[in-house]
């Protein structure tokens, strides 16, 4: 399990910066907005979504699937030591730029050249973005924000566990993307809630996510997770996909 999948419990980190702002420098807003646009224009919304999206009628040249998992793969794929060298939205910028290059929408050379242009004296604040209006693209992105992209699927999948069952969290090999916090591996918890419908993951991961599967809210005692390092009088809950759990 990579360090970026196993952050919970790292010791001796010192005081937390209780920074209440969402963005600390203005450029961060732009990469956030680009990510939301990609989510709202993702190809899977045409074929695998609950709201009735019609991407084929939206005049965008974006023709890829882009979900949270795709964004996260950029940060999770970093060398574990590199993960902490970048601030939150720097990882987004690197991952999203890399995606557009890999998918062939842009080349690294043109991105470098354009970056150099904006770095020339005075250009960053004054050179405008291309003035191209395309309201139908914007409407689809806004529609996505309003209607979302629920992963819940009304298909018959028999859950392996019921409320009250003891489970052990499986140990999984390192993967490019996971939804299992590393510190939970091998730990024993109790099914507290079995969610009524299975959840899809929109694409397949090497650790078993993908097709609709049951999700459970699992309760862990703090002493089970942290032993003698646990604080008194707290419990920990997490929503976990069935593929990560086995009977204990």
């Amino acid at each position: 399990m990579k360090i970026q999948h196993n952050i919970a419990g790292i010791e001796n980190l010192g005081e937390i910066d209780f920074q209440k702002r969402v963005f600390v420098v203005p450029w961060e807003e732009r990469i956030f907005g680009i990510h939301v646009a990609m989510m709202g224009l993702s190809k899977h919304l045409e074929t695998d979504s609950l709201p009735n999206y019609s991407l084929s009628s939206v005049p965008t040249n974006f023709d890829s699937t882009w979900t949270w998992g795709h964004l996260r793969m950029g940060a999770e794929g970093l060398n574990p030591f590199d993960y902490f060298k970048f601030r939150y939205y720097e990882k987004w910028l690197g991952g999203i730029s890399g995606f557009f290059i890999e998918e062939g929408y842009i080349t690294e050379e043109e991105l470098d050249a354009k970056t150099a242009l904006y770095l020339e004296d005075g250009n960053l604040d004054n050179a405008p973005l291309p003035d191209i209006s395309q309201p139908a693209i914007d409407e689809q992105v806004m529609k996505y924000l309003k209607e979302g992209d629920s992963p819940e699927r009304d298909v018959a999948v028999k859950p392996k566990f019921v409320v009250g069952d003891k489970i052990r969290v499986k140990s999984i090999p390192p993967t490019e993307h996971t939804r299992l916090p590393g510190n939970l591996q091998g730990k024993i918890g109790t099914i507290d809630v079995a969610y009524p419908m299975p959840y899809t993951y929109f694409f397949t991961t090497t650790d078993g996510l993908g097709k609709p599967m049951p999700v459970y809210n699992v309760k862990f005692e703090s002493t089970e997770l942290w032993g003698e390092m646990a604080e008194p009088n707290n419990v920990y809950y997490n929503d976990l996909f069935e593929t990560y759990l086995e009977a204990a």
Partner: protein
Amino acid sequence: MGEQSFVPSNIMTKYDGFNYDRDREIYSAARVRALESLLIEKGIISGETVDKVLNYFETEMGPFNGAKIVAKAWTDPAFKAQLLEDCNAAVSNIGLPVGMSGAEGEHMKVVENTAEVHNIVICTLCSCYPWPTLGLPPYWFKDPTFRARAAREPRAVLTEFGVELPETTEIKLWDSSAQIRWFVLPAQPEGTEGMSEAELAALITPEAMMGVALVPSPSAA
């Protein structure tokens, strides 16, 4: 770190590892501008898409919605019961902007703070956050230091953030690793009975709705 810090020192005050020099920030600013510019030129997004997204979070999807929900729950017991039972159904028809079950709010759950139980919402893997009701996550929530420490030592983190709970109060941590998005119904402070929903909403912060702050009594302010 560089001698010239781009982020003012009063913004990033503690762990300094994510506070970069001016050149690095200017490079990122140019890089993201270059990327946005190319995406517009190539017909992937429009010249207005990013501005419209940002405006949407300023006006429609923000913590002001969550504050109204909490204030209503404090003054309307039937609504509170429904909110705790089925958040999405409860918030769909109370005069909030359209889209309360939209992106990152498709499946929301609310947990209530009482004298016996104090809830904290965390995301150790990333930054899962209920966008429609609370907007976008503040930096502390995304910070690896918070994510690492809150999971194991929530009481110490609360103390650091100025929240002292009785030892008898149980802390429940809600970590978000699937698509359920959690937020906290904070306890109503003493001395606010009889206040209007709008007056109450003004007291409620995103931090209180994530469980790392209490809602202060107005007389204590």
